[in-house]
Symmetry: C2
Subunit: 215 residues, 2 copies
DNA sequence: AAAAATTGGTTGCATATGCAACAGATATTT
DNA sequence: AAATATCTGTTGCATATGCAACCAATTTTT
């Protein structure tokens, strides 16, 4: 889902005339927001890529997510009264970002442009899918055993791709990270599950052999 | 955050005239939505309480959340093309619910009522805070050790309440559930942390003795 | 206040899993 | 193709933690 879906180039220009967004370029490595800033914008990455990280209560810097062209961030702070995002946001390559002030976003514009409405709908859509994604992720992480988390991920991907044999879009390292586990522990568990005849896989192609409750 | 915050009784009536919401009553135990239904509404619980549950890939029914008067649900599905919510929603007591069709919610109403805007802003606000909440929860659950998760929760509560000694609003059982752990394991870990002089607590009143990195 | 139910802490036990170190396989660079 | 770097699997080890069973403390019901 892209922030500007369903809005043509031409329409976009009108929209921008009314929203007068900030459009800024950043060099690779340049800081976009620091931890103590308030984020007042729905930000759209036109080009490049960025990284959001956060300081842990222990003081560890933890990567929250990496985003690239076409992605949107900042929408989580719309209308909240959070003065400090707690996020440190840095450009990973030369990047160009459009900042849409959200007060303006949600005021009816003087020109009454139609695509204003479309834009806010898109934002809501992006927020919805983020919520659903996060909820799914929590469900996975709440599972107490590694095996359950693996099966959850595999079933998720199977349903998503609607194929018996499906490709996991992660490296093992990323897969481990996603399910909150150690890489070697994941490898071990996968092997074990294969031996037990629960699943089969070769590289990133997986197949689930037994369904619910392991039967 | 309440869906109707900042909208007076009188204004609400006008708003309802324009949104013509469905207002339904349910008996305790009555089903509100089943797993296969599409949720087209932002639903507001006027009175009573309800429970959302979900079927696991293993076929287990898992409680997602319990909601009560003043809470809102369904906003996660706005403008998504999800045909089946996957949620089974049941009234836990006699309840009254207002359903706001979200197509109507996001169309400019013929009466041009001002509070329409306020309402959509509130929805966005609710979605924002849900996203932030879920993200925090994920951060916690992604921690690999029970101790880290406990400390995360405690620090969260400490910051929230901004007191050195703070009350955890959970029973031990709920606390364990929240951090995705076994209750007895949690008890054990808490004792251990107390012995080690990391934290102190009595019933639900906690105090963190040592800061980041355990020092 | 006696009885019953709920809640929290303790502990033994088996297992799961993080961690580290290494090896083989695969991909990338020279 | 040789050399190097990256990715994945394997394994030993120590520890963390789920689970079950039990007891003590607290709260609720009778």
């Amino acid at each position: 889902m892209n922030l500007f879906d369903g809005i043509s180039e031409n329409e976009l220009n009108k929209l921008f005339a009314c929203l007068s967004p900030l459009r800024k370029s950043y060099y690779s490595g340049e800081k976009i927001f620091n931890t103590y800033e308030k984020i007042n914008y729905v930000a759209y990455i036109e080009s490049g890529s960025i990284q959001l990280s956060k300081d842990d209560y222990e003081g560890n810097k933890v990567t929250v997510v990496k985003l690239s062209a076409g992605d949107t961030f900042g929408e989580a702070f719309i209308f909240t009264d959070i003065e400090q995002s707690g996020l440190s946001i840095v450009a990973l390559e030369d990047s160009r970002i459009i900042f849409l002030d959200y007060v303006r976003l949600f005021s009816s514009c003087s020109n009454m442009c139609v695509f204003h409405k479309r834009l806010t709908e898109n934002i809501v859509k992006i927020m919805s899918s983020r919520i659903l994604f996060l909820q799914t992720r929590i469900e996975l992480l709440a599972k107490k055993t590694l095996r359950e988390r693996v099966l959850y991920l595999l079933n998720e991907q199977k349903n998503l791709q609607n194929k018996e044999i499906f490709e996991i879009p992660f490296s093992r390292e990323q897969m481990a990270e996603y399910i909150g586990a150690d890489r070697s522990a994941l490898s071990r568990e996968l092997s074990k599950m294969k031996t037990e005849g629960l699943i089969d896989y070769h590289k990133n192609a997986f197949k689930i052999l037994l369904g619910g409750k392991y039967e």
